[in-house]
């Protein structure tokens, strides 16, 4: 069975989705979903070990050798992403039953979990596959289920947010489809490794250049890179809390993975960084994103909105690391992918707990909440500190490596700007702390009690991860380093 792990990683959740319809009873469906996600998590651990022990794994779907058949190809980069996605999904699911009981009517729970599994399987599929067109198919599985889940949020704004996301997401996916078509036209293959072999021969054609440009634009739409981020704040804010926590921690990371995979492995470093002014473009957009989105976050009164804008800013950091174009920069980006998943997973899940008790995430309703929900608020504070990049949290680790990578290149103004960006994060995190800890609740507001254990345990699991990996940095740094180095393979 060990040889089948790559495909099991994806088809276990994929086939579990229709099985949900057979089980029907909401509580059982939840337990089933949790088990499936847990199984996916175990598989991803086993896969990572296999990759570390014996190098890249290739799996041939239908027994057809690539490039004729579809290949699953797992190397260190994929394995790390698979681990992040399935781990976050499992922790988030622990809290799911309690949280969605409050937010979604019970007759839709079964459908919700089936969609959740589809979305999970879609993301895992995008990351595992070694075939360009297969990426598109699984991208659509994860996107369609995402649109549907976001629309299940409370209130009519969820519908509107979902529709906007659907339009933007479909445009992005169609751009990617055009790009794949152009690549196929010039090379006659869809397999990524084969594309990497054959693209250099046609690298100086206009068609390949356009293919690259379309791919970048399409992925950046999905990635919500500034200024293509307009869909993200609403989609995150009005979706059910569980969905927000899951997506904020994973879905943009998958798009980032695609960006890294195609620029480094498919088009190749020298093509990607020399034919287009990609480096300057991404550096500029990344920095702009950090500042504009952080500034926007400061003015938000809805905390989900606030952290959503902060997500756009964090994507800016990742893109800056990417644009450095060195192994160190890429490593900082990967590290931040891992760390940001922990941070935002914890923060949005904690907001879910607030939502469960207070039924609102407006800043005004946080007055004095620190006394009523001390553990939840403490989690938000630790998450916030991590977001700023205070030492002993994971946020510090990735910012440290990012600044080092930037300085290595002699870009000291950029390093200064990154630190200034962190100051903005202090402002918006402080805003929350101030309201929750130092302002008394308005008289007449009902007392609320601490969130139930079912929500607190997963929140604190993630918070503990924030601190643990902030102190013991070896594991994360090692993995990110070896993945980054393997991507840089022969190139300097």
């Amino acid at each position: 069975m060990l040889a089948h792990l790559p495909v099991l990683q994806v088809i276990v959740p994929l086939l579990a989705a229709p099985s949900c319809l057979i089980i029907k009873r909401p509580v059982l469906v939840w337990m089933f979903t949790l088990m499936v996600s847990g199984a996916a998590f175990l598989i991803s651990i086993a896969l990572l070990q296999q990759v570390l022990a014996s190098g890249t794994i290739s799996y041939e779907m239908g027994g057809w050798a690539p490039p004729w058949g579809i290949e699953y190809r797992i190397d260190e980069l994929n394995a790390i992403l698979l681990l992040i996605i399935s781990a976050i999904s499992t922790v988030v699911l622990l809290a799911a039953q309690t949280s969605i009981t409050a937010e979604i009517s019970e007759d839709r729970h079964t459908i919700f979990y089936a969609l959740y599994l589809l979305s999970l399987a879609g993301m895992l599929g995008i990351v595992s596959t070694g075939d360009a067109f297969n990426v598109f198919v699984f991208l659509e599985i994860s996107s369609l289920s995402a649109y549907a889940m976001i629309a299940m949020g409370q209130g009519r704004r969820a519908l509107w947010a979902s529709y906007q996301y659907l339009i933007m997401g479909t445009i992005g996916a169609t751009f990617i489809l055009i790009s794949i078509g152009l690549m196929y036209q010039m090379t006659g293959t869809l397999n990524m490794a084969d594309l990497a072999d054959r693209l250099p021969q046609v690298a100086n054609t206009k068609t390949v250049l356009v293919a690259f440009a379309f791919f970048i634009v399409g992925v950046c739409l999905k990635l919500a890179l500034f200024p293509l981020h307009m869909w993200l704040p609403n989609a995150y804010s009005y979706a059910p809390s569980i969905v927000t926590a899951f997506f904020a921690a994973t879905s943009t990371k998958v798009a980032l993975y695609l960006l890294i995979r195609f620029t480094f492995s498919v088009f190749g470093y020298s093509f990607s960084f020399t034919t287009l002014p990609l480096q300057e473009l991404f550096l500029g957009l990344g920095l702009l994103g950090i500042f504009i989105a952080s500034a926007a976050a400061i003015y938000q009164t809805n905390l989900k909105h606030l952290f959503a804008y902060s997500s756009v800013a964090q994507i800016g950091y990742m893109i800056v690391g990417f644009s450095v174009g060195t192994s160190a920069g890429l490593m900082a980006t990967l590290l931040h992918v891992f760390n940001h998943a922990l941070i935002k997973g914890a923060l949005f899940l904690a907001l879910g707990a607030v939502m469960y008790r207070v039924n609102s995430v407006q800043l005004n309703d946080f007055k004095g909440l620190a006394r009523q929900m001390p553990l939840t608020m403490a989690a938000i504070v630790v998450g916030g500190l991590s977001l700023i990049g205070v030492p002993l949290t994971v946020g510090f680790v990735s910012k440290w490596y990012l600044v080092m990578a930037v300085l290595d290149n002699g870009w000291w103004p950029v390093a200064v700007l990154i630190l200034l960006g962190s100051l903005l994060a202090i402002v918006y995190v402080w805003k929350i702390v101030e309201v929750a800890y130092f302002i008394d609740p308005e008289p007449g507001t009902p007392q609320v009690s601490e969130a139930p254990m079912a929500l607190l345990v997963p929140v604190w699991l993630l918070v503990a991860g924030n601190i643990y990996f902030g102190i013991d940095t070896r594991l994360g740094v090692q993995m990110a380093q070896s993945a980054a180095q393997s991507l840089f393979g022969g190139s300097p």
Binding site: Y59, G63, R108, I111, D131, V137
Partner: protein
């Protein structure tokens, strides 16, 4: 021709006309596909572009109204963006191999094996079916899951907790009257429906040899049921078609596909390797393709039915709500 229709759609204010033109657009592209030798694609595009999506659009318009009130805006910026993107694409076409060029890279590297060897390796004359179901069977599995996702999504959005009871006499009466007017249509269709179903089965099992396959068959099969629903009223159709059962079927179709893959894994092959299903690889391929096409057909047909019934059910629900509001 396609261009004219597309331009007309931009200018048109009446949404009903837009939808009709969109149907025409679908049909035109289908015929365009035929001239480019893509018969399977044409078949699908005709049933989807001119069929299913038109029906869905019409039901939507029935609920939202057909007039576009606000003028289009953001003209200039959008135009600049579009012209830039278009210019970029045209720039990209400059180095493309010419249309119809047999030596183009796309036709040289991977594709020849499908054309030359698939008869020996898969044993199916329709090359599209061979590639779709076997070489790239995993894509098709993904495609089935996409459809399944859409079905669940529509159900999550439009599904009603319980189907409306047939209590509202006034509306039912209205429906009955409406349907009596279409007596001729009803009789003709009642005779037609068995043939449509039969044709669907033919398309389902003949996909190995001619154009067709699970997806097209599923759509045709669903079309027969939708036709029935349109002419005999939803409540009658609901008596014949049990919704939870249809939902279950859509899952079962997807499971069937997946299970074929799992069985081939248990038999020592890779996921979806049909050759190991039977002792003779070619027979195994045939069996595998037959089963997965059946899975595709079941899922597609049931999802289409789910989608249509939930759209139409929503209309009914809105009508009842409105009449209740009036009475209350």
């Amino acid at each position: 021709m396609l261009l004219c229709v597309a331009v007309a759609i931009v200018r048109m204010k009446d949404l009903l006309a837009v939808v009709m033109l969109l149907g025409v657009y679908g049909l035109l592209s289908a015929s365009f596909f035929v001239t480019m030798d893509a018969v399977d694609v044409a078949f699908t595009e005709a049933s989807v572009g001119a069929g299913i999506s038109t029906v869905l659009m019409l039901t939507t318009i029935a609920m939202t109204g057909r007039n576009e009130s606000a003028p289009p805006y953001k003209h200039l910026l959008a135009l600049v963006l579009v012209v830039m993107t278009g210019a970029l694409l045209v720039y990209g076409t400059m180095d493309m191999p010419y249309f119809g060029f047999a030596e183009a890279p796309a036709n040289l590297h991977v594709a020849p094996r499908y054309i030359q060897d698939s008869m020996a390796e898969v044993g199916v004359p329709n090359l599209v079916t061979a590639v779709l179901a076997s070489y790239r069977g995993f894509d098709t599995f993904g495609e089935v899951m996409v459809i399944f996702t859409a079905g669940l999504g529509v159900l999550a959005l439009l599904g009603l907790a319980k189907p409306p009871k047939d209590g509202d006499a006034e509306i039912d009466l209205l429906h009955d009257k409406l349907h009596e007017q279409h007596l001729v249509l009803r009789v003709v269709c009642k005779m037609l429906i068995p043939f449509i179903l039969l044709f669907a089965l033919y398309v389902q099992f003949h996909g190995d040899f001619g154009p067709g396959g699970g997806f097209q068959a599923g759509v045709i099969f669903a079309a027969a049921i939708i036709l029935y629903g349109m002419l005999f009223g939803l409540s009658t159709a609901r008596r014949v078609i049990n919704q939870p059962l249809v939902l279950l079927l859509s899952g079962i179709g997807a499971m069937l596909y997946g299970m074929v893959g799992v069985v081939s894994m248990l038999k020592g092959g890779d996921f979806l390797d049909y050759s190991v299903l039977l002792s003779d690889p070619i027979a195994g391929q045939h069996l595998g393709i037959l089963l997965i096409e059946l899975g595709v057909g079941i899922t597609v047909a049931s999802v289409m039915v789910i989608i249509f019934f939930n759209f139409a059910g929503r209309i009914e629900y809105l009508q009842r709500k409105r009449s209740r509001d009036k009475q209350g």
